[in-house]
């Protein structure tokens, strides 16, 4: 791996060798060594188990201590009790380790003097010895390119989204949510107590990382406000940043103080931050997933006017309300567009004004996609096309429904390439097991064709609106 011209933090995502200190001999299948082997890191770098009570771990030679390893060690994982970490850090310094991921907990997050002192001692040894520390109390690095992971069920494919998370569970959550719509990551970092490496370090790295197009961030608190703002601005110059800032309500701030001892901060300050930087705020992890999907898959909308297309008159009215509440509009098509649509589907009547009510059944919807979407695409009053796929009607089940869902997805995939405007699908999940399976397969097809798929009108319109905000900020910013 060439290291020239690379940011110094790049090596944490691509270490040439990893020592696992506290390599488990009991639950071998779920330990760090097994995980790295399973995930393919072993094919790209060296794994050195460290365990004084074992000769071998998962077939690999085990060493009593880090400084017994007779080869260079770039990265070490601490899977050991907190009280042992100062000594092991000294061993790492002796061995010339560059990065330590302290998975172990029991430090400052406990709120105890012992925990705080241990963390400070460990950091001092590391700093004096030239080691950067990730954690403690965190899941660490997922970097599919190098085979590094903290969860063996994560996708092995790499994508162009990065996620920096103060919460370990939420970092897992977003990877799985993204996987459901065939989105993959360039890098994910769960950074925990941030005793050394903190969110601005990773943001500054990701700003210049040409493997990352979109950045997501989960934070509860920050330690250095100006540096954080500066890092976000650096990112925003080149790529969008979606931020779930948790703890902005009184209830949430109390919870954050207990969780990561974070000072959650005043809502007004964070409102000003979002306004000043243009970073995209999200309120739930589902919304983070929706927005990053939109950013990756949708070209820049030229405005906020949505064409709503699908079966059912009532859902069209509800969808129009939802869109407008989210900050979008559902205006009537031009007269010419309405006439063209009526020419191909004369029986549609007023259902061609926008929203479009397609004909009965999913077959009627699929037929409209092929004949009607190109007309809507040309409409001068439309900026965005939102197709809602009513799973007849949103959850019902008949024996031929599975085939109809599949056909509808194929029809959309067939027409998608010729549509010039940003287009998305709201795909209602349904409840019947067969319907769920068919919807899952349809979502898979659609997203593989690059069409973003949302779980409903609400999530789709929220994501669209925030993406419009982002481009608006970007345009204003560029003009200055």
């Amino acid at each position: 791996m060439p290291v020239e011209n690379k940011h110094p933090l790049d090596r944490i995502f691509h270490p040439a060798s990893v020592a696992v200190v506290g390599a488990s001999i009991r639950d071998e299948e779920t330990g760090w060594v097994a995980r790295l082997i399973d995930f393919g890191y072993g094919d790209k770098g060296e794994i050195y188990p460290v365990n004084p009570n074992a000769d071998k771990v998962h077939g690999l030679k085990s060493y009593p201590r880090v400084n017994d390893i007779p080869y260079p060690v770039e990265y070490a994982i601490f899977n050991i009790p907190a009280r042992l970490t100062p000594q092991v850090m000294r061993d790492c310094v002796a061995r010339g380790v560059k990065f330590v991921h302290c998975y172990a907990a029991g430090f400052s997050e406990t709120g105890t003097e012992v925990g705080k002192r241990l963390e400070a001692e460990m950091v001092k040894i590391a700093k004096d010895g030239g080691i950067r520390v990730l954690g403690p109390n965190c899941m660490g690095i997922y970097s599919p390119d190098s085979g590094m992971t903290f969860n063996e069920d994560f996708p092995k494919e790499k994508g162009r989204i990065a996620f920096v998370s103060q919460s370990g569970a939420e970092s897992t959550r977003l990877v799985f949510l993204a996987q459901d719509v065939n989105l993959c990551f360039s890098k994910v970092v769960s950074y925990g107590n941030a005793c050394d490496l903190d969110s601005p370090d990773f943001l500054e790295y990701l700003a210049q990382d040409d493997e990352t197009d979109v950045i997501a961030l989960y934070i509860e608190g920050i330690k250095n406000g100006p540096r954080f703002v500066s890092a976000i601005k650096k990112c925003m110059e080149k790529k969008p940043v979606v931020i779930l800032k948790a703890g902005l309500t009184e209830s949430g701030a109390g919870a954050a103080a207990s969780h990561t001892a974070s000072m959650a901060g005043v809502k007004a300050i964070w409102d000003a931050f979002f306004k000043q930087t243009g970073a995209i705020p999200a309120l739930t992890m589902d919304e983070v997933a929706d927005i990053i999907q939109g950013l990756v898959r949708i070209i820049k909308p030229q405005g906020r006017r949505v064409a709503v297309i699908g079966r059912g008159g009532g859902i069209g009215v509800i969808a129009s309300d939802i869109c407008e509440r989210a900050g979008l509009k559902v205006p009537p098509f031009s007269h010419a567009t309405q006439q063209k649509l009526l020419n191909i589907i004369p029986e549609a009547g007023a259902g061609m004004r926008n929203p479009v009510e397609t004909m009965v059944g999913m077959g009627g919807a699929a037929d409209f996609y092929l004949r009607g979407l190109p007309i809507v695409d040309e409409d001068p009053e439309t900026d965005i096309i939102l197709v809602h796929m009513a799973i007849d009607v949103y959850g019902g089940h008949t024996s031929d429904l599975v085939q109809q869902v599949t056909d509808s997805a194929y029809a959309l995939c067939a027409i998608a390439d010729s549509i010039k405007k940003p287009m998305a699908v709201a795909l209602f999940p349904g409840g019947h097991p067969d319907t769920l399976r068919a919807v899952g397969a349809a979502r898979d097809n659609l997203t593989k064709c690059g069409i973003p798929v949302f779980s409903g009108i609400e999530s789709a319109s929220r994501a669209f609106s925030k993406i419009c905000n982002y481009y608006q900020f970007f345009d204003t910013h560029k003009e200055k």
Copy 2:
């Protein structure tokens, strides 16, 4: 069926006989006759197909005209072209029919003079002849008690929820959404153009219907404001009404005008209406389903303070924010409660303050349900218990996860009866097919035990907050 002391409209849900005018001989399996037979109406009442070109339909003797039927006919379904309806209505008058459900479309909703004239003519004949008309352009009646349905896939079980819907597709939608959480209906009406019977007729009936505990309503427009308000008030004296009023934005109002020619009305007036009547407003059909589930399954909360319990520290902070934004609070437990929780789970640390972070894995969560929930139930600072089931973590998949999800649901079911406070579960769906199946089974178990299950923290907290609003209105109203 005894008719004494019953509201006159009760017979529309329990007719002794149904004539299907325009009984289909081609698509027999999906026609109205087959549907009524399949759904069991044939075991309770008489079905008379009417089709001049057939001797038999689906094995039943067919008649050329309604007035050829030599038996009493209480209810007739018009599955015929609009232009034929005046003559058939005359036949119905001659035969002494009491109710006509005009499924046919092509009337005033087309906006044409021909359509409006036909509708007026049909109504006049009916009125003069003593027939009440449902529709036209609607799905009609679903009444599982009598075997009446407009969809053969609807549940045959009856429940205690009624739904009155101006949209046919939305009426279907809510039945399937409710079915996913084991909720059934007493009566569902899709009433379309409302040329005669309108939402206030059904609301007045449902106010006094002792088979209905909760009423849901989907409306775009109303024809007689004072009568509508009065009907809602009559209902609210005895049972809650949840209303999805569509078309309250500029975009939505335009869509409603095209869909049902409804004047959607001014938002300020509807805001005042909700404030005055205490009816519960919902913005999406998913929210309607969530609120009715809560109303049916949750006892009255004594306040808005929520205990948030589940795995993951980050989700606890996010959940606290979501709850507070929805109008709830997540305050710390009393000191005594925190001490009791720490006694049983000493390693939990600050994760016992509220929100509660249960131990790693779903097994850790299930263990907490049994030991910790009774303690939370006694906490003086808690009114509502919200358990979020992280499907490790919200969508991941391991081979033993299916069993863990099942075990967690069993643990909750086992403890549920002894919990005195209102309790609900936010059950994240996950993405892996095996996870989806396990979650579906868990939801089935939980809801069969009477525990309301929501798809996430957001939907659960929204529903809880609106249910709190309802009881608050109810209490204030009672005191006056």
